[in-house]
Structure formats: C-alpha cells, structure tokens
Amino acid sequence: MPNQSNDCNTCGKCDNAAREKNSTKNGMPLHTIIVYSENISGLLSQITAVFTRRQVNIETLNVCASSTPGVHKYTITCYCDTEMAEMLKKQMEKRIDVLQANYFTDDQIYIQETALFKLSTPVILENNRISKVIRLHDAKIVEVNPTYSIVEKTGLTEEILSLFESLTKLECILQFVRSGRIAVTKSRIEKLDEYIQLREQKRAQILEQ
C-alpha cells in the first residue's frame, strides 16, 4: 500500500490531486504502466516476473479485457525512475504475446480507484459523525441493514485512504477493500490502435508474398 497520508482527516477535496501528481517513494516517482497483450493464459506471471527480476515492487495491478477484442489490458503502478520504467517496458514487450507496454506519470492519464467499506450499522447509529464523514468524502452508501452498511468511494488513492483513516478513527470498519488503479491516457492518439494497424499491414504484406 502506498504511504498513508496523515495530514488530511476529514476532507477528501483538498489538494490531494496535486499531491498525487508528485507521489514519490524513496525519491522515485509513481509510474503507471499500461500493458496490452493477446489473451493467452500464463502471461500475467510473465509480466509480473519482469518486475520481480528487476527488484521493482508492484503497488497495484488491474487486469481486464480491453476495448479491442481479444486484447487484455494490465494497469500496473510502481515506484521507479524513468530509466527503470523504460527497461520494464522493453522487457515486457520482449515477451512474444505482449503487444505494447507504455509508462505514464500521473499528469498524462486520467486515474480512478474504487474502495468498498463494510461498516457496523449499530456503531453508525450511535455516532452521527460517521455519516457526516461519509458525506464530506462524497462516498455513497449502497447497502444498509441492521447489522452492517456498505459504503462505496471512487476517487484518487489519497482520497480513499483519507476516508479510510477517518473511519478507522471512528472504529466502525468491519471490512475494507481497495481496487487497483485503473487509468486511461489523456493523449489524443491511440497508440495500440496504431500499432495493430501497422501490424495488420505487415500481415497483408506477408500474405501477398
């Protein structure tokens, strides 16, 4: 888990976005690496092995089908310098069934994360500060029953952690889970589409020969 913020307890709206932009660990910036691969089993372990071998710790990892049929998308975050990010990119692209790997800093991508909090309903009813904190953080209550309530919060890592800290202090959390980061690029160019187009041209060339 990234460093927990300790200076923001109640408000999810402060300068978290700015801090996220400058998120660092041991002087290393946070990079988001977006990888596209063919949908072939066993690739996830090949991709994570690239990080392990270069002693880079994966902070979050999300895998899902991409908008291109048959192509999987991996969104991975890690703290490393640009040289290392470049090396990770090349080593991942070296795997036969990886289509493309690119790395980004936070200003180049639109980022989102989701968290679910399972809270004790009796504790919430006893302490009215809890529902105030939930509202201040713009979180959504999606389930309520006499035993527990479920709160959903979507936002940046720091916003989610800020809510987590506040609720922890109010001693109402039964369970907590945070998704890995998901991201789309802000670029107007779709690099993967370009790549696939080039490769399909090459395929046509080879077929002709």
Binding site: G42, Q46, K90, Q91, D97
Partner: protein, 566 residues
Amino acid sequence: MKERITGAEALMRSLVNEGVKTIFGYPGGAIMPVFDALYDYRDRLNHILVRHEQGATHAAQGYARVSGEVGCCLVTSGPGATNTITGIADAMIDSTPMVVICGQVGTAMLGTDAFQEVDVVGITSPISKWNFQIRRAEDVAWAVSRAFYIAKSGRPGPVVLDFAKNAQTGMVDYEPAKVDFIRSYDPEPQPSEEAIKKAAKMIDDSVKPFVLVGQGVELGNAQPELKEFLEKAQIPAGCTLLGLSALPTDHPLNMGMLGMHGNLGPNVMTNQCDLLIAIGMRFDDRVTGNLKTYARQAKIIHFDIDPSEFDKNVKVDLPVLGNCKQTLAAVTKLISPAKHNSWINGFKPYAEKEYNKVIEKAINPTQGPLLMAEVVRKVSEAANNEAILVTDVGQNQMFGCRYFKFTKPRSVVTSGGCGTMGFGLPAAIGATFGAPDRTVCLFVGDGGLQMTIQELGTIMEQGSPVKIILLNNNFLGNVRQWQAMFFNHRYSFTPMANPDYEKIAEAYGIPAHTVVEREDLDNSIKVMLQTPGPYLLQCAVLEEDNVLPMTPPGADVDKMLLEVPE
C-alpha cells in the same frame, strides 16, 4: 486432404515440415507415444540417443551454433524436462535457436502431483523465448510451427513445448500449419533511414572509431557485410567471446578478443576511441568491466535486432535497430572511404607488450610442464586454423578462445553468458552433426569433462568424430586462479583427484593418448587429427597456470593485469 492421425504422429510430420533432420533426445514414460511414432520416421528424422537430457540440450546448441539451424530436443516429463533447464537457460542468454519438446502427464492429471509431473511451463517461462503446453492433438501443427518460427526469427532463442500425453494419443484431422506472422511479435524491425544516416555521419566524423563485433553478426549471417564495412572505412575491431569467428583472426583490422581475459589492445583502446560501434553484442559485464568508466569519452552507436538491449547496461548515443545484415550494408553505402593509420598503429604497442609479457611465454615455452596455451595454438595450427573450436568453461575456455585461430565463420561453440561447466562434450557432439564436413576440436578441463562424461557413450554409439583435448591440471583451474588472486591462496575444494582417463576412453572404445613431454606434443596432435572418428588426447598441463591478462571483476576495462600481483 486431411488424414486422421495421432498427435504424436502429427508431431513427426510437423517436424519434417520444419526441415528437422536431427533430434537429440531420451525416451521416458510421458513421451512414449511420440517415441513410438518416431520409430516409423527413423528414415527421415535422425534421433541421437544421448546419455542425459542436459546433454541433449547442449548437443542441440552445438548443432545450432555451427549450422544456423534450429536445434531440437525430445525428452520426457518431470526429471527429463528439469534436466534440460540448464541447456535452456544457456541457449536463452547466448541467443541459440532451439526447440525442446518434453512429454507431460495427461491434462486430466495436471496439477494433481501425478507421477513425473512438473510445472514445466512455469519453470521455463523466465528462461525461454516462448513456451506452450499442447493439450489437444489439434494444436500440434500450429504449436510446432509457431515454436520454430519464434526460435529462429529475430534474436534467436529456446522454445519449450510441453506435450500432454492425451494430446499425443488423441486423434486429429492433420493439416500442416505454417506460422510466419505473429501480431504481437516483430522479429525483423524495419531499419530507420534516419538512424542509418546519422550513424554514417557519426562514423565519417570520427577520428578514432572502434568496432565491437558480437555474435549478432554470426546470427545474422552478416560476416561479409561486416568485412566490407570495416574495410571501407578502415575501422579496427575487437570481437566478443561469441563473436570471435565473425571476422578472421588474422584480418589486419581484427585487434583481438574483448573482455576480462581478452587482448590488451582492444580493451585499453575502448577507453581511448572517440566512437564506439557495437554490433550485435550486449555489453556483458565480462566485456565492460566497471560501467562507470567504460568508454565514457566516446560516442556510442549500437546496432542490434533486440530493442531491449539498447541502454540496458551502457547508455548509447544512437541505437540502430534491425538485422545487422541490412543495417551494416546500408551504413557501408553511405560512409566515405577512410584511413585511420595512426589510430590503428596505436594498437601495436599494446599488442607487442602483451606478446612480450604474456603470449610468447604461453605459446613457446622451452621448459617446465606443458602449458594450455601452447596446446591450443598447436592444435589450431595443425588443423590449418580451419577447425571448429568447442570449449567447456573455465581456463580451458579462456585459453581456447585466446589462442585458437579462426578463418571460417560459425567456428566457436562456447557457453558465454551462462558459463555452463559440462557444456563442452555434448556441444561438440552436436557440432559434429551440424557440420559433418568439419573438424571439431573440444578443449575441456578435468572438472567440466566429468560433469557430462556420460556422453562418451553417445560418442561411442554414434562414432562422433570429436577430438577431445583434455587439459588436465588436477584442479578446478579458474576458481583456483581466483582463489590465488582474491582469496589469499586458500584453495577451498579446487584440487581434484582424477580417474585414469585413458582407461575410461578405452572402456568406451575411444582411442586415447596422454602427452606429458613437450617433444611428444606435435606428433600426438597429428595422430589425433589423422585418426578417423573420436579421439581423446590428454595433456598433463601445468597445475597452477593463470589466464592472463585479466581485468579483475568490476575493474576498469583499460586496467588489465599482465601478471598476477604478488
């Protein structure tokens, strides 16, 4: 016209389709249906029964390195497969095209800890270029074609096919497959014209250019293009261990071997050139020494087919991506003819210094026990410098590569990146199948020979004409040298009691002779080379000889030691 056959037979047909003629293998339970099918294909597929699966992989490597074809291995599941791991790792780091097919338990038993079940795909993933588990007979043709395409294209490497038993016995309507395109894999990237132009300009502008020749030149069959390039602009070159035979040893622009035990001139001049041109090499730490001081004064151009090599160890000013057969030819067209006489002459004092301080003593000793260097040089010359050099790992390898001379391409087979002791004997067997018309000379130590000594059985059975030159010093010599230099002469488990190797050879029906006296050397080599088939020539060499010069590990590339410090 489809025909209904078993997956095992589909494998046979697919291998024939890929042009495979020789397979190195060893049968076992989970690959028996395939060996049964092979029985009917003996006329088309020459299966060489090795004595240990590791031997199969090294033999396939030796075969591939001298022939340029894909080496092929066939082994069983579990221990059969795990015994191939060292060879697969070796082929990966030395970019050797190889396809290893291993049996696997049936898919119904996968993951149940069945007899001889090992997660081969999991184990070989980080050490193979690609791997795949064939679970259905329908996938055989496609998987085999894809395996061979990946193994030999681009930067070559090992591919593993894990062949489940039910896929071997299952029936399939066989249709040949041909994979020559993979969307996510671009093995021959189009060279950038801009990079070619820039490279030509940098070369034209340089006063002291220096070329590093790597195995990529051999893998790309770009030896003629390299020669033309060097000669047009008169650029001196040094060769890496695996690139040694890409340029004839006595070519006037060949300044010798790079690296820890390479020649003094090319190592020193690396830190004096103004332009370093690396071709198909990967800046291994044994070549660069201390990266902080390596060629800092020079601009660097790097020709390579694998983009992940750029900036991996050494930051380069200009990467030139592509097959060097194309990129070198394109650059040669653009550069102006040049002479670099005074720069080339600058190598001479270093060559003379090394000759006087190291080489002469090593190849022309007049007294004392035999030296490894003199044996190597004498064998090389007796074979007209036309033989294939196979080495094991250690002092035999360094002396072999320093003193053997090359006039033909694809003539050096050695374990470079992995440094696998035991590589030599099986690799030499493979080389005799890959280049049946050439003489194959193996230099091996008493340590490495015993790591795969069982392959003498393969030599016996096949009559493989391997000329085994055993450089016996009763030590694990390279480690002993390091113990002497860096561990205060504490010879921790490097002295070794040896068996009677002549008796061992005799048991295998291999003619053998031991040389102790210098006077006996020339004639013994002659007899060895004239004897048809295999031969074991044991040379009783100086026990505590040292490979020199040496760049100690991590030291600056131009700070080579010419003698062992007291």
